[in-house]
């Protein structure tokens, strides 16, 4: 059954799938960098939403909603409208390409992403395996 995005249930599913993915564990073995995802409103989404996920050495933890950016600090914040996130998670836009084309605005160390692009790539790939209800 499809899980609504964004929702606590979706976040937990993502976290679980990351923690059982050998490919992600391998790709992100050296990765240290929790992530905040900011979903901006667009024609299909009405509010600004903040999602957090802890990402350390190939494991995910503490995925949750935040009330604001101030609630929890993370080394990486990625911001894009709802429709862009949908395209990225559905694999219609490559996440690295989205960052390089300013479709996703990244705040954080570009060096980390450019030196190790695979963790980001696999992070999104795992999310894309979740059967998702986009609400429209």
């Amino acid at each position: 059954m499809a899980i609504k995005f964004p929702s606590e249930e979706w976040l937990k599913e993502w976290e679980n799938r990351l923690n059982t993915s050998e490919t992600y564990a391998q790709a992100a073995a050296d990765w240290e960098g929790d992530l905040v995802i900011v979903i901006l409103p667009d024609e299909n989404y009405t509010q600004t939403t903040y999602l957090y996920i802890g990402l350390q050495h190939g494991k995910a933890s503490g995925a949750c909603f935040l009330k604001s950016l101030d609630e929890k600090k993370a080394p990486f914040t990625s911001t894009a409208p709802f429709g862009t996130w949908r395209k990225v998670l559905e694999g219609r836009i490559d996440v690295i390409q989205a960052m390089f084309s300013n479709k996703i605005k990244l705040v954080g160390s570009m060096a980390a992403i450019q030196r190790q692009p695979k963790p980001t790539y696999e992070l999104v790939k795992v999310a894309g395996t979740i059967e998702t209800d986009w609400g429209s």
């Binding site: 836009i93 690295i96 390409q97 989205a98 960052m99 390089f100 084309s101 300013n102 479709k103 605005k105 990244l106 570009m110 060096a111 450019q114 030196r115 190790q116 692009p117 695979k118 790539y121």
Partner: protein, 596 residues
Amino acid sequence: MGRLLRVDLTRGELWDEALNEEYARSYVGGSGLAARYLYDVLDAHTDPLGPDNPLLFLTGPLVGTSMTSAGRYSACARSPLTGIWGEANSGGFFGPELRYAGYDGVWFTGASDHPVLLSVVEGKAELHDASDLWGSDIYVTQDRVRDSLGEAKARVACIGLAGEHRVKLAGIANDHGRFAARTGMGAVMGSKNLKAIAVRGKGKVPLFAPDEFRIITNQVLALFKEDMPSKSLREFGTAGYVNVGHMFGDLPIRYFQLGEHAPADALSGVDMTEKFLRRNTACHKCIIACGRETRSPAYNDDKVDGPEYETIGALGSVLMIFDLEAVIHAGHLCNLYGMDTISLGVTIGLACELFERGLLTPADTGGLEIRYGDAEMVFRLIKLTARREGFGAVLAEGNAVLAERAGVPELSVTVNRLEVPMHDPRAYVGMAVTYALSPRGACHMEGNMYDLDMGQSNLEDVGLVMGNRHENSIEKGRMAARLQAWRNLYNSLTLCEFENPPVPLLVGAINAATGWNVTGDDLMNTGKRIVNIKRRLNFKLGMTRADDRLPELLLNPLENGGSAGIVPDMPTLLAGAYAEFGWNPETGRPPEDIPL
């Protein structure tokens, strides 16, 4: 009305000539205008290294203005490496300074009977004896030219030992280690005994509407201060793409035969920045500053220009060398001698592959064992090639000749005899069109589909839209053709492809600079016209439709990595490109009814 400096090196005569305004209006400047001029004078009998092969240095209408990234020039002639249209482009400050000195370009004919230097200072051009410079590397040459002229701020373009020895991979250096590297233009300079050109001037570039131009260029500048690709290029240079390119299967490894190889990540541009960067360098009016000045302590190199992504691939991953310091040093040697790192790296890569297959042995190489991963051997081969000594004389002819000598032309990774750069067409299939149809042979500067399909463009107004990098379709072929036209326009204006202002701003800048009244569609059509004149010239020089092809090695799928299993569908892609250019599908020729 612009002007050209004409130099007959055989007679030692110099004279001014008004720029052909009709040609300039149709072909803009840079390599487009050079192609139009050379179409009238080149034919299949022109010896690329003979006195009859003209060598043109041309700037464009935006060069030397406040337009960001407009600091380039083109050097063009019949290529000794490929036998077809030869074109090399470089940034830095030489192009702008040439315009400040009073000329839009220099047209050399003939050949001097002794080494010479051309100086152009404040509109006054002179030839000087340069016998004492012969044998000097590019850095020494540039310094000594400035000293001998008493012009400390002169900008110098010159050749190194490779150009002097007519090595077909020789480029032209300017502004320290910037290079017009490709297609052997340095060998053409060497064949004319022309060691260097020095330019200095304080003139102003005329603008049709200066106030409007300033407003537009300020808008363009603001756009590129903070966008992600610009920030990445500023921080890590083009080398910042190494790891991403590796992930996508775009970085060629082991002579284009591996799609992924973990040690290749050690060539990271991020690591290079952190460990070996001295400072960034920028071209004229550029706010990105992608240029690198590095060091390589292990080899006692304290100041090295580069390496860029292309050099890291060609002298690193292609050769299975994953030690950044060794790659920096190899790049430095190529700089000193004045050689194209792409062409030389891919040629040495073939030598390694031939050794692996037993098709080349020490008996063929003067006792040398040429193996993947042997950095010391690469250093030695660079030195031998620059002087055409021993097996270096074979490498000096390029990859295609080496493959033919070994009896395996199918192992050559060239298109029209120019070595393939460091973007694998199996990672971005649009690059298959770019390479196959590039007027100068395999060249990434003739259509950067890897950038377009990464989303790095604001060019939707002229039909250039990001797509799926693996999509084999008629539309992908059309897209690659449109991008090829656009980049040929860029190489004629002449602009750097790293800054792509939205089309309305570019149109505004061109109109304000020139007084032309062009639209975005006009510019796209101009780009196509430029591709067409180069293609017509190539057909005149002996090329046929059968030459629109990729090397066989690149039509084998990679077994691993981000592009495993992908092969460009050439008939489909080329059909799209032909349709976009309006070429005859049978002959590949541009329509005869289109006037030049």
